[in-house]
């Protein structure tokens, strides 16, 4: 799982083609990343990777790196 695969999803959900993310990016770094878009982001990632995050996983996310780590875990478990 790489940041390059996640970037287009972020741009799509936040409807902003200029968004760049790195492993340390947090919600507070992106203007559009509010609580509502956060949900759309989760739903979109789950759809694209055909995975389902647990509630605990979602709660513990601090930055993009946490999201990628959890995606990897779930994708490898399939």
């Amino acid at each position: 799982m790489t940041i390059e695969k996640l970037t287009p999803i972020f741009r799509d959900v936040f409807e902003n083609e200029e968004i760049d993310i790195n492993l340390e990016t947090k919600a507070s770094d992106i203007e559009e990343w509010d609580s509502i878009n956060h949900i759309y982001l989760i739903v979109e990632i789950e759809k694209i990777f055909k995975i389902k995050f647990t509630t605990l996983q979602i709660q513990k996310w601090e930055n993009v790196n946490d999201i990628i780590t959890d995606i990897d875990k779930l994708v490898n478990a399939i």
Binding site: S35, I36, I39, Y40, V43, K52, T54, T55, I58, Q59
Partner: protein, 558 residues
């Protein structure tokens, strides 16, 4: 510009977005006011609230079962049993205030998702303090409110949800107070969009139907009356179910028209003569069968009916015909039917094409419904013994010799029936044909219907006749187990014996050939008064003259 207010007891921001999106997709302008979550009563009770300033045309009031359930669990038993009453009273209060301040505003309220919390298991219905009891009662109370309050509409947001669409994600409930999935809210927004459009006058008035492979299977011009699939078995049933649905729509006030590429006389024969045809010529307001383009014919139908193209739906199995109509008459709605005819009806129901905002012009119909309702109550009352029950079914049977259009069904009946089957002889289509054409056999086929529906052809008897020796033999006696205990067997034997008397036959022989599955008829002949032959367990004889007709409660439908 349509003004919509959204009020809810969960995080409704997503519903707001979904509603906006669906109106945008249809190019319609909409202005939405979304109250802060959980402030329904504040907005309504406070006459200075933004809600009243906003002056909505429509209010979407969406309450989640989860929030209700939380409240419910906090109550003591005493309050629990009055939960639905207090909730519906609360809703009525809100509606009264809205009515006073916004007399023209319509309120749409999706019925609560109701699922059993399994605290009382299936004993819930005996326990007024169970959640499921209360939530079902609440939904019922919503129906009463809908009936009493002109501007309130309880909405069904559930029964046509596609099977693969998930309603709820627990994870989203707990992380975001989002009580429904975004996919479901998108679906629900579509429902609101349809209802709001109908309320502003955009609704369907007429269905234009193709015939071949749409109302029946096959092509009437090629396959003939006997060859088309309609009614008694297999995919034929799908077509008759579809017709029943159109008949219901017609009775509700939807106009039916036919547009078919056919010779008119041939196209009309099934309506006039096919026994399983549900729709009759009387049900069709405009009947067009010719070889012109369907787009031209639909234009003609529009002129006759004097209604807008955008109030018409065109149903045709043929993608090419659909494409032509879409191309030349883009205002007409043309659903892309699935390939399998057995899917047509579910597909059409899911589209909810016939949403309506009133049925007041159909008061006559409602009278009829009430009439039927009171009849049903009578029925329940009067069913105390079997005879009364049989009479109350209002059964009608058609008894004939084997008819050409039934050959296939007869053959299938002989191939498939295993239980009520005296000798389990199997007959191919050709066998049935030659038996029917031979004068050595007496054949009987019986179709049955009652007040609840049509069972189609459900019984067949083949009797071998030996005129010279004045004796007959029951070669085959089959009945579908769906109509067991309905007197159909008595009807069959009455008929056979009557015919034998006419033919001057003295004795009728019968045989039971046991199989693993047909024990049900082991004593059939004996119970009808046949005598066992000496030293034979399974062979019987009956003197024709000694037979007395059995009493039956089935009317003649020939």
């Amino acid at each position: 510009m349509t003004r919509i207010a959204i009020l809810g007891n969960y995080a409704t921001q997503f519903l707001n977005k979904s509603v906006k999106k669906v109106f945008k997709e249809f190019g319609q302008d909409v202005l939405i006011y979304e109250a802060d979550f959980g402030t329904i009563d504040f907005e309504i009770l406070n006459s200075d609230s933004v809600l009243f300033e906003f002056k909505p045309d429509y209010i979407i009031l969406h309450e989640s079962d989860l929030a209700f359930k939380n409240e419910f669990y906090h109550l003591g038993d005493n309050e629990k049993q009055f939960f639905f009453e207090s909730k519906s009273q609360n809703l009525l209060n809100r509606l009264n205030i809205l009515q006073e301040n916004l007399p023209k505003c319509k309120v749409f309220y999706p019925m609560l998702l109701s699922s059993n919390d399994m605290v009382f298991g299936n004993y819930f219905s005996k326990v007024k303090t169970s959640w499921f009891y209360q939530v079902v009662k609440y939904n019922n109370a919503l129906l009463d409110l809908s009936n009493d309050q002109a501007n309130f509409l309880a909405i069904d947001g559930i029964s046509q949800v596609p099977a693969n669409l998930k309603l709820r994600s627990r994870s989203l409930v707990y992380t975001s107070d989002l009580h429904f999935t975004i996919d479901y809210l998108n679906y629900l927004a579509g429902v609101f969009h349809q209802i709001i459009n109908v309320n502003s006058g955009k609704f369907k008035k007429c269905v234009i139907l193709d015939l071949d492979n749409t109302l029946w299977g096959g092509i009437i011009g090629d396959d003939g009356l006997e060859g088309i699939e309609l009614g008694s078995n297999g995919v034929g049933k799908a077509y008759s179910d579809l017709q029943k649905w159109f008949k219901q729509l017609q009775q509700r006030g939807i106009i039916l028209a036919v547009c078919s590429k056919n010779e008119e006389a041939i196209a009309k024969t099934p309506f006039e003569r096919h026994p399983n045809m549900v729709l009759k010529l009387d049900d069709i307001s405009v009947f067009v069968a010719n070889w012109n383009s369907k787009a031209d014919n639909i234009n003609y139908i529009r002129e006759v009916l004097n209604i807008g193209l955008d109030s018409m739906v065109f149903i045709d199995d043929n993608p090419a015909e659909r494409a032509i109509v879409k191309e030349f008459l883009p205002e007409v709605f043309v659903p892309d039917l699935p390939n399998d005819a057995s899917e047509y009806l579910d597909y059409l129901m899911r589209l909810n094409l016939f949403e309506t905002a009133s049925v007041s012009e159909n008061d006559k119909l409602r009278t009829l419904q009430y009439h039927q309702e009171s009849k049903r109550v009578e029925l329940q009352k009067s069913v105390t013994n079997m005879t009364d029950f049989l009479i109350s079914l209002e059964m009608k049977a058609k008894v004939t010799s084997f008819q050409v259009e039934d050959y296939e069904r007869l053959s299938q009946l002989s191939l498939r029936s295993n239980q009520f089957n005296l000798r389990t002889k199997r007959y191919s289509l050709d066998d049935i044909k030659s038996i029917s054409e031979s004068d050595k056999y007496l054949t009987v086929s019986i179709s049955l219907k009652d007040k609840f529906g049509d069972y189609g052809l459900i019984s067949m008897v083949i009797v071998e006749i030996d005129k010279q020796n004045e004796v007959a033999f029951i070669d085959t006696w089959i009945m579908s187990c769906r109509v067991l205990k309905r007197n159909v067997e008595d009807l069959a034997l009455n008929h056979v014996l009557y015919q034998l008397k006419q033919l001057g036959i003295k004795n009728i022989n019968g045989e039971y050939i046991p199989t693993e599955k047909n024990r049900i008829v082991a004593e059939l002949l004996f119970n009808f008064g046949f005598e066992r032959l000496e030293n034979e367990s399974y062979k019987f004889v009956l003197e024709v003259a000694s037979y007395t007709n059995r009493e039956i409660y089935i009317e003649n439908d020939n």
